[in-house]
């Protein structure tokens, strides 16, 4: 042992080449060692879910920065790196992913693209949402602007996937999920899209609710055009269902006594409430025009055209809106058709007969109240009466033979008077008209059939 100590005092010269070896070894191995350690550290974290992972190696010291999604995950990730063979020290720069409060996620659609924004809880749910968006919206660019944050409400993925489905039904708009409240705004792609979205939202996972649903539907359009040249009434656009369809076409047939009804209507959901209750009187107003267009767009009824005379224009402008269900608007652009040239009383009589051969003035059953469907016909009669201002006209009321003769006589008189009053209200002088009731005394057809009775119940205009 003493010898070893004695010899060791002479070992120093070898230290000089040793230092040279050390220098070369350090020079050549450092980069290799660092590369190897980085690979080992990354391999150790292979199955750990982290955001913004960054590993840098300096000598044998690993600087490990990452955002973890839970404290347990963070601690175990650091432990994995520390356990990697060869690692001397770990500079722990890991943090938890920031917590978002309120937790907001959004999907916004414009003409070109769908942008997913806000927060998602894990990279896996983020990619799941992106994949679902791309699958739902083929052909539309999907932009990912989602960040990662903790604090998502329970069942976030299910709720967000359901909302993504709804984005496909929008033309443009935005769906925002704030904690567990859903807010929707925008324009549905199709008629009925709004209703489909509202129905789908009922399937939101438990705990989620709709805070605001401001989805607009495309306007629900119904149009009617009265063409005096072709003598047609063309109906286009949408009706809620087949029953309303049939009712509207029937009402048009009653109100437009001489026009042929061209029916191009299609049934579609998404009609505003009170659709039929508003459209039927609007069709009545259109029937009083010489030529005109009725456009119903959602709850706005727009009527434009030419009335046959001044008083009719006033009645159409002011009268229609009162019949509408609540929430409906009425806009009339009604002008008055230039008065037709005056004609001889004989021509007047021909015109009356022609008009009354196409349609009949109708009354409530057993009463002397003129039904609204006859407005168009009466306006036509009034216009004709205005063309022969000097003629005196007998308004003759007739009934069928049902019931007592005295009652029929009274009814026919009252009905003739009702028509006369209508004409006077339209601005014609009362002294030009002679209302007379004939009861069932002058039948024009046999009273033994329903058809014949119907022909006998009539009002005639006779120029004296």
């Amino acid at each position: 042992m003493h010898g070893l100590f004695k010899w060791s005092s002479k070992w120093w010269p070898g230290v000089i080449p040793l230092v040279i070896f050390w220098g070369i070894a350090a020079w050549t191995s450092t980069a290799t060692v660092e590369g190897d350690l980085a690979a080992r550290a990354n391999a150790a974290l292979k199955d750990t879910v982290l955001d913004k992972r960054r590993i840098s190696v300096d000598g044998r010291d690993v600087t490990f920065a990452a955002n973890a999604f839970s404290e347990d995950g963070r601690v175990s990730a650091v432990a994995s790196v520390e356990a990697a063979p060869g690692v001397r020290l770990v500079n722990d720069e890991t943090r938890l992913v920031p917590e978002a409060k309120p937790y907001v996620w959004s999907a916004e659609r414009d003409v070109l693209r769908v942008t997913l924004g806000g927060n998602s809880p894990l990279p896996s749910s983020k990619s799941k949402l992106m994949e679902a968006a791309k699958a739902n919206l083929s052909g539309v660019e999907v932009v990912d602007q989602m960040g990662l944050a903790r604090g998502a409400p329970q069942r976030f993925d299910a709720a967000a996937l359901l909302l993504l489905d709804q984005i496909g039904k929008l033309k443009d708009g935005k769906i925002t999920l704030t904690d567990s409240k859903v807010a929707l705004a925008g324009m549905a792609r199709d008629l009925g899209g709004r209703e489909a979205i509202a129905a789908a939202l009922k399937n939101l996972p438990e705990g989620y609710s709709v805070a605001a649903n401001d989805i607009q539907a495309p306007p629900y359009i119904f149009q009617a055009y009265k063409d005096p040249v072709a003598v047609t009434l063309t109906l286009t656009g949408y009706v809620p269902d087949n029953n309303v369809h049939a009712a509207l076409v029937a009402a048009a047939g009653r109100k437009f006594f001489s026009e042929k009804v061209v029916d191009n209507l299609k049934a579609s959901v998404g009609a505003p409430s009170g659709f039929a209750a508003a459209v039927v009187p609007a069709l009545g107003a259109l029937s009083r025009l010489s030529t005109g267009t009725l456009v119903v767009s959602d709850r706005v009824v727009k009527l434009s055209g030419d009335a046959l005379y001044d008083a009719a224009a006033g009645q159409i402008r002011n009268g229609l809106g009162k019949d509408f269900p609540q929430g409906w608007q009425y806009k009339a652009e009604v002008s008055v058709k230039p008065a037709a040239a005056p004609v001889d009383p004989t021509v007047c009589q021909q015109l009356f007969s022609e008009i009354l051969s196409k349609g009949k003035i109708r009354f409530e059953s057993g009463k002397a109240d003129i039904v609204a469907d006859s407005g168009g016909l009466l306006d036509r009669l009034i216009e004709t009466a205005m063309r022969c201002p000097n003629a005196t006209i007998e308004i003759a009321g007739h009934t069928d033979s049902d019931g007592e003769e005295a009652a029929n006589q009274t009814l026919s008189e009252k009905r003739a008077q009702a028509v006369t009053d209508y004409l006077v209200r339209a601005g014609l002088p009362a002294e030009r008209f002679m209302p007379i009731g004939y009861g069932s005394a002058q039948p024009i057809a046999g009273n033994d059939s329903e058809d014949g009775k119907a022909q006998n119940r009539r009002i005639e205009f006779v120029v004296k």
């Binding site: 070893l4 002479k10 050390w22 070894a25 044998r60």
Partner: protein
């Protein structure tokens, strides 16, 4: 560190061989040795470096280089010891008469 030895085992072997050679020569070398004072000072320095390595206070690459140096130096010393001992054994066998 053992895992990393696979990268520079050649250098460790070189250090050990260098030590062996130096130890082999040192037995019959006539040059003056290092004074006891120096040996103590150098031992102190070595102890300080070992302490620094174990406490890991030297950061980054310098820490790695320090560790590498200490390992090589330790193997060098081992080589020296083995070399000197073997040479002494050989020398003593070749002079059985004395």
């Amino acid at each position: 560190m053992t895992a990393l030895a696979t990268f520079f085992w050649g250098w460790l072997l070189a250090a050990a061989l260098l030590g062996f050679c130096m130890g082999w020569i040192a037995v019959v070398h006539r040059a003056p040795g290092v004074s006891k004072l120096w040996i103590r000072l150098l031992a102190l320095l070595a102890a300080a470096l070992v302490a620094a390595s174990f406490t890991r206070i030297v950061p980054g690459r310098f820490g790695y280089w320090l560790d590498l140096f200490l390992v090589m130096f330790a193997l060098y010393l081992c080589g020296c010891a083995v070399g000197s001992w073997l040479r002494d054994w050989v020398v003593s066998r070749s002079r059985p008469a004395s």
